[in-house]
């Protein structure tokens, strides 16, 4: 397996649909790929005690988080036959309806990408120190906990 160095997974603000579209387009030259699978995490306008979530402000223990993303990436390449994998997570403010997590896995075969994508997303939720502050429309807030 090729050595891969830890990358910075974080992007400031929401992940745009243009960025996601360009990522897909860049893979057209990789013709050994037969299947892509994409997960997009979107900020949900939860209603909690009559208050609606307007945005989530993300912070992270960035050094540890990038190491954890790297470990997850390495473990995923060990477990599944993937051609490539890309992970992007937002920092800062992401409004309801915008994308805060983009995971993109590619393989010659479809069965690998279905399994790999679920594995990557669940590992991210469980192991990466990212913290989301749910900001309500009236500017009050609470701290999100993954369920």
């Amino acid at each position: 397996m090729k050595e891969r160095k830890p990358k910075n997974v974080f992007k400031e603000g929401a992940i745009s649909s243009e960025f996601i579209g360009n990522s897909i387009a860049k893979h057209q030259s990789k013709t050994s790929i037969g299947a892509h699978n994409i997960f997009l995490g979107q900020v949900r306008a939860d209603v909690i005690e009559d208050k609606t979530v307007a945005a989530i402000e993300y912070t992270a223990y960035e050094d540890m988080a990038n190491e954890k993303f790297h470990e997850i990436r390495e473990a995923t390449f060990e477990k599944f036959n993937l051609t490539c994998m890309h992970i992007y997570h937002s920092l800062g403010t992401v409004k309801a309806g915008e994308i805060c997590l983009f995971v993109f896995v590619s393989s010659p075969r479809r069965k690998e990408v279905f399994k790999a994508l679920e594995y990557v997303v669940e590992e991210i939720k469980a192991k990466v120190p990212v913290f989301g502050k749910e900001v309500f429309e009236d500017s009050s807030h609470q701290w999100k906990v993954n369920s």
């Binding site: 992270a60 988080a65 997570h89 997590l101 991210i124 939720k125 120190p129 701290w143 999100k144 993954n146």
Partner: protein, 77 residues
């Protein structure tokens, strides 16, 4: 040892800072937490884990690195 302690999420709201230095002369994570709970009584009721060298460690492990982070429940994605 002079520790650099980092606080995240709701914990940083309690301590009113993202990081601070703390002179520590004892041994274990538990002993460090006892000192932090004296300084910030509200921390004691919170759910969090302690990371050392970017890895989660148990509260009975020894402090060996200068950078310690207090991490509330993760909520990425």
């Amino acid at each position: 040892m002079l520790l650099n302690i980092k606080y995240f999420g709701m914990l940083a709201e309690i301590t009113n800072c993202n990081e601070e230095t703390h002179e520590f002369s004892k041994t274990s994570v538990n002993e460090l937490l006892a000192e932090l709970f004296r300084k910030y009584p509200e921390l004691e009721a919170k759910d969090f884990k302690v990371a050392q060298n970017h890895e989660i460690v148990s509260n009975d492990s020894n402090i060996t690195a200068p950078e310690i982070a207090l991490l509330p429940p993760f909520s990425g994605g």
